[in-house]
Structure formats: structure tokens, C-alpha cells
């Protein structure tokens, strides 16, 4: 997977998207790749998992070979406008940027193309071997991945339309892009993961998305049940295992990351994640 140029990580809210993104970024860095990790939107999950402190629009090197940035739409838009209009001093374009942002609020796909477009521009950069995008949840990822297609349908002319072709092709190219859906084997996340994969298959926006199951508990082979508190623990563990089996059987996953017992900090979580991902990939 790390031979791709872009890894898009999604999943239902709360399944550990940012932890997996952090883990993947650390693993890629450990393998000597030049990595850009992108945190999309207001959530601060990735920066805390990478112990990166405050991230902003300018990529910052947080370890040798690993850069991280936070992608905020308004800044991506300003950058896009100043590049497209080839005028320095984007401050003068504040009014245009606001007008544009207003359009993006109302027009489908314009908002998303600015975000996913910035990610894809970074993929084109020679500075990075791989870009890891901690992306919006599965509920929204469809409209981001589909944005280039939607623009082609919605916008009959204009510069944004002429750029949507290479964006669509990059996302669909199996050598370039890998979508990773993080799932926790429970009812709601699994249902959403299945809906998403089914939709993606029909839309053919990306090729062969993979599912990584997170927080999976191991099977207990010892059938005895100790008395007292220990017995309660074993019973809980077994019933979590049983419930998880139901949902694991409903989808095919690329690999499973175990439940991390007693792990405190986001940084520790990402470090352990990267070890497990190394085994999986």
C-alpha cells in the first residue's frame, strides 16, 4: 500500500481514522519515505496522534521526512485563486475569495473540489513520496471523491472544470490512490462501511478500497470461567468477541488491529498502530 502516492483514510466518526492515519504516516516515515500527512477540516485528531502540536496550512516537518499540515478550505481557496489568477498578494483577493466561498457553500461539489483538489495538487508535488489524508468520515467522503465528476456534470465551462479530469483520473488510478476505510466491528460502523463500499463499487471512483478493522478483541480458547471479578472480565471479553464476529463476518477486511488495552495518549496509540499496520501491510 505504501507504494501508492495517496492514501485516503475514512470511516465512520469515532472508529479511529486519525489514529490509523497517524500510524500509516509513521510507518511510511520509518520506511524512509518522504511523507506528507494532511489533517482535513476542524478536527484535531491527526495532530494529536502525531504529537505535532498546532498544525496549519504550511506543511511543517515534525520528524525527519515526515511533514504534516492542516487543510482548511478557506486557505486552500485563497491559494488556489492566487495561483489561478497569477497575482501575488492574495490579500487583495479577499473579496473574491469571500464571494467564492459563498458559492462553495451553496453549490454542490465546489466546496469539496477545493479540498480534495488541494490534496491532489500535493500528490503531484515532487517533494512527497506519499500523501496520507486523514479525510472526512464515510458519511461525507463520497461527495469528496465524487467532486471531480460532479463538477464535470454541473459546471459546463470554466477553469475548475478543465482541472477536474486529471483529478478524477488520479483518484481512480490504482497505482496512485488507495482508499482505506477504518471499521470497528459493531452494528453502526459496519452498516455504514458496507453502504460506502457498495456505493463506491457502483460509482467506480476509486479502485479496490480496503477495510481495516480496528479495536478487535482476540478469541479466548480457555473455556473456563473464573469466579468473581476475573470471571466478569472474561465474560465481557467473550461477549464482545462474539458480537464482533457477527460484524467481521459481514465484510472482507485487509487486516485487524487489536483493541489497545490501557493505552493512554494519542501518541502512544499511533505508535502502536504503526507496528500493527506494519504486520498487516
Amino acid at each position: 500500500m505504501l507504494d501508492k502516492r495517496l492514501i485516503v483514510v475514512s470511516g465512520k466518526g469515532g472508529v479511529g481514522k486519525s489514529a490509523v492515519s497517524g500510524g500509516l504516516s509513521l510507518l511510511a516515515q520509518r520506511r524512509g519515505l518522504r511523507v506528507l500527512a494532511i489533517e482535513i477540516g476542524a478536527a484535531r485528531g491527526l495532530s494529536s496522534h502525531l504529537s505535532a502540536g498546532h498544525l496549519d496550512f504550511q506543511p511543517k516537518e515534525i520528524r525527519p521526512g515526515l511533514h504534516a499540515m492542516r487543510l482548511v478550505r478557506s486557505e486552500a481557496l485563497l491559494e488556489y485563486l492566487s495561483l489561478q489568477l497569477r497575482v501575488p498578494g492574495i490579500g487583495r483577493f479577499g473579496a473574491i475569495a469571500r464571494a467564492f466561498d459563498a458559492l462553495a457553500t451553496a453549490a454542490p461539489a465546489v466546496r469539496e473540489i477545493i479540498t480534495i483538489g488541494k490534496v491532489l495538487w500535493e500528490v503531484r508535488e515532487e517533494r512527497w513520496d506519499i500523501v496520507v489524508a486523514d479525510s472526512p468520515p464515510t458519511g461525507q467522503i463520497g461527495s469528496y471523491l465524487r467532486a471531480p465528476v460532479s463538477i464535470e456534470e454541473l459546471v459546463p465551462s470554466g477553469r475548475i472544470r478543465s482541472q477536474s479530469t486529471w483529478m478524477r483520473e488520479t483518484l481512480a488510478d490504482p497505482d496512485m490512490t488507495q482508499l482505506v476505510i477504518v471499521n470497528v466491528p459493531e452494528e453502526l460502523p459496519t452498516t455504514e462501511t458496507l453502504e460506502t463500499t457498495k456505493w463506491l463499487e457502483a460509482e467506480r471512483l476509486v479502485s479496490d478500497p480496503v477495510v481495516i478493522s480496528n479495536r478487535v478483541v482476540n478469541q479466548v480458547t480457555d473455556n473456563s470461567l473464573p469466579r468473581g471479578t476475573a470471571g466478569e472480565m472474561v465474560a465481557l471479553h467473550r461477549s464482545i468477541w462474539e458480537e464482533q464476529q457477527t460484524w467481521l463476518s459481514k465484510l472482507e477486511d485487509k487486516g485487524r488491529i487489536p483493541y489497545l488495552f490501557g493505552v493512554f495518549t494519542p501518541g502512544e496509540v499511533a505508535a502502536q498502530m504503526s507496528d500493527h499496520l506494519e504486520r498487516i501491510l
Binding site: 473574491i96 458559492l103 454541473l154 475548475i160 473464573p226 472480565m233
Partner: protein
């Protein structure tokens, strides 16, 4: 008077289940209770008698004082158009591609829909308690700021930005070429799109008076509501819970409690394996006591740092599919501050 209880927190922590459980508890105290829910798991929806998707409250067949309603952001936006716009404009809006997109993708749209429905139900005065499962949003108090954001959207702020001046008449858009800014936007987006968006925003603007009046009503109801924050002991939802604790007092009330879902008993921290147990079981017990310790530390820190009333709800590995188990979830052991939430035997109206 109707008690409004807003159940907030990050996505994926069991907020919907806990809102449902609190509603069942309330109904069983003899209070006519409505739970307004967002995207419940199928088995939970079944338990609540919500097999048929409907935004209208449905009485539960087995629990006489319990009603449930499910939210649909798209439907609620259509209702907004219908309520606040002229019939022909409302019709045009409902079929407009931008309207449909905005109702699904405008960041505050699901929150607005939830708040709007909830306030409608509170104003109906048909229930003693309305429990609202607030939708997962961009984070923090988005739910509470949705009415003003919506008023902003329809109020023409976007229109003014697009046109760079005061709200023009419809035909002014056709002079678009005169405005350099629109020319630039047109060259990037295509002028056709620009025109269609502008037409849409002009239509939407006619709902402004109604929407802003409604927004103030919504804010009033929310400011009088009781709130709880649901979380697990995992770092990300805890971070989100902290945001709620900081931000809620300004828009509603100080949360009556922070509910830690999937909690392990403190007694597990000291657990040991009986002599002669297999290494496998020893390992397992060690893991779970570590986890219990971690959870305990997270809760203690939350309580001391934020002065929060911390309540725990036990880890229930299988989904709760019947009302008895739901009610038990927040029952005696959970120790929720029911009285300060306005949900108690004394709250039964006569």
C-alpha cells in the same frame, strides 16, 4: 411546561442509545416523553417502535407514555421553505439542485433540522419531556449555533459577497460582466453556475424574516434546556466532551452530567486471577484491569479539571433491543441527576 433535554457528545459513543434509555426511564416515571433521534441502529429503532421512518412522533405500542421521532434533514428544510416562503417560491426551492445540496451539505443543516423539529415538539406542549439526540456535527456546540448560521445563509450574506454590494434585484445579475469580481469567479466556475446559484439565493432570501424569527425562538428554547454530555474514555471523544463543557454554558446550561459510556467498574482495577488459571486468562485479566485503571484516571481528571458531575454507564457489548434493558442502562446504578434534569416523579404534571 415541557422539559427539554439535549444529549450532546461526539459521534460513535452511544449517544443515541443513551438518549433512548433516558427517554424510557422518563416515560416509566409517568412522564409523557418524546425522544427525537438521529440515525439510530436498526435494532434500536425497532426497540423504539420506529420501523417505519417518519419525522412525526409515533407512540410506542408497548410503552404507553413513550413517543419517538426520527429526523430527516432534507424533509425539515422543505418544511422551512414551505413555512416561510410564498407557495410558488417554496415549490421552486424544493426542486432546486442547490437547495437539495445545501440541505444535505450545509454544515449546520442537520443540526438546524434537529433543532427546528425539537423546538416544534417542545412548543406543541403535548409532552412533559422532550429528549433530543443531537446530531454529530463539525464539533462542539454547532447544534446551538445552527439557527443563527441558517439566518445568515438566507439573510443574503452570501448574496452580498457574490455581488459585492447591497442585495440587487434579480435582473442585476445579468449585468454581471460589469463587476470584475464576478468576471473572475465566472472564468473559474463558469458564468452559468454563477447565475443559477444567485437565482437560488434570491429565492432563499425571501424566507429571511420567517427564518430569523424562528431562529430566535429556537435559541430561546435551547437556552432553557437541560444538557448532558456523553463520551467514552477514549482520547478523541473526551477532547470533544471538554469542548462541550467549556462552550455549553454560554448557549444552554452547564451540563448536568458527563456520562461515560462503556465504563468498567473500578473494582476491576484490583482484580486478580484465581490460582491455577491459565496464562491466557491471566493475560486477559491484566488487560482489563489496565483498561479499568485508564478509564478511572480519565474520569477522575475530567471531574477535577472541569468540576463535572461524572456518571458512568456500563459497557454493554450487545445492542440493547428491549426497553427493559434500555431503562436498566441508566437506572439505579448509573446515578444520573434526574431531579436537576427536571425528570423525576415530582415533574409529573397534573
Amino acid at each position: 411546561m415541557t422539559t427539554t433535554l439535549l444529549v450532546t457528545g461526539a459521534g460513535g459513543v452511544g449517544k443515541t442509545t443513551i438518549a433512548a434509555a433516558m427517554a424510557v426511564h422518563s416515560a416509566r416515571l409517568g412522564l409523557r416523553t418524546l425522544v427525537v433521534t438521529v440515525d439510530p441502529a436498526r435494532r434500536l429503532a425497532t426497540a423504539l417502535g420506529l420501523d417505519t421512518l417518519g419525522t412525526e412522533p409515533q407512540p410506542h405500542t408497548e410503552e404507553p407514555l413513550l413517543w419517538a421521532a426520527m429526523l430527516d434533514a432534507g424533509a425539515s428544510w422543505k418544511a422551512v421553505a414551505k413555512r416561510h416562503a410564498d407557495p410558488d417560491v417554496a415549490e421552486r426551492l424544493a426542486n432546486n439542485e442547490f437547495f437539495i445540496a445545501a440541505s444535505q451539505h450545509f454544515p449546520a443543516s442537520q443540526s438546524y433540522a434537529a433543532a427546528d423539529s425539537a423546538v416544534t415538539f417542545v412548543q406543541a406542549k403535548a409532552w412533559d419531556v422532550v429528549v433530543v439526540d443531537t446530531p454529530p456535527s463539525g464539533g462542539g456546540i454547532d447544534f446551538f449555533t445552527a439557527p443563527s448560521e441558517m439566518a445568515d445563509l438566507v439573510g443574503g450574506r452570501l448574496l452580498r459577497w457574490i455581488t459585492g454590494g447591497p442585495i440587487p434585484g434579480r435582473r442585476l445579475f445579468y449585468d454581471r460582466a460589469a463587476r470584475p469580481m464576478l468576471r473572475v469567479a465566472g472564468s473559474i466556475l463558469g458564468s452559468d453556475l454563477l447565475e443559477r446559484v444567485s437565482e437560488f439565493l434570491l429565492d432563499l432570501r425571501t424566507t429571511y424574516d420567517g427564518v430569523s424569527r424562528r431562529g430566535r425562538e429556537m435559541e430561546r428554547v435551547m437556552s432553557q434546556a437541560a444538557t448532558v454530555v456523553v463520551t467514552t474514555a477514549d482520547p478523541a471523544p473526551v477532547q470533544e466532551a471538554v469542548r462541550f463543557y467549556r462552550e455549553l454554558p454560554a448557549v444552554a446550561s452547564t451540563p448536568a452530567a458527563v456520562i461515560f459510556n462503556r465504563a468498567l467498574p473500578d473494582i476491576w482495577i484490583e482484580a486478580s486471577t484465581p490460582d491455577g488459571s491459565s496464562p491466557e486468562l491471566r493475560q486477559l485479566v491484566e488487560w482489563w484491569s489496565l483498561e479499568a485503571q485508564r478509564q478511572h484516571d480519565v474520569r477522575r481528571e475530567f471531574s477535577s479539571r472541569h468540576g463535572a458531575n461524572v456518571v458512568t454507564v456500563p459497557w454493554s457489548p450487545t445492542p440493547l433491543t428491549d426497553l427493559d434493558r434500555l431503562a436498566a442502562l441508566v437506572g439505579r446504578d448509573a446515578d444520573l441527576p434526574w431531579e436537576s434534569l427536571g425528570i423525576g416523579p415530582d415533574s409529573v404534571s397534573t
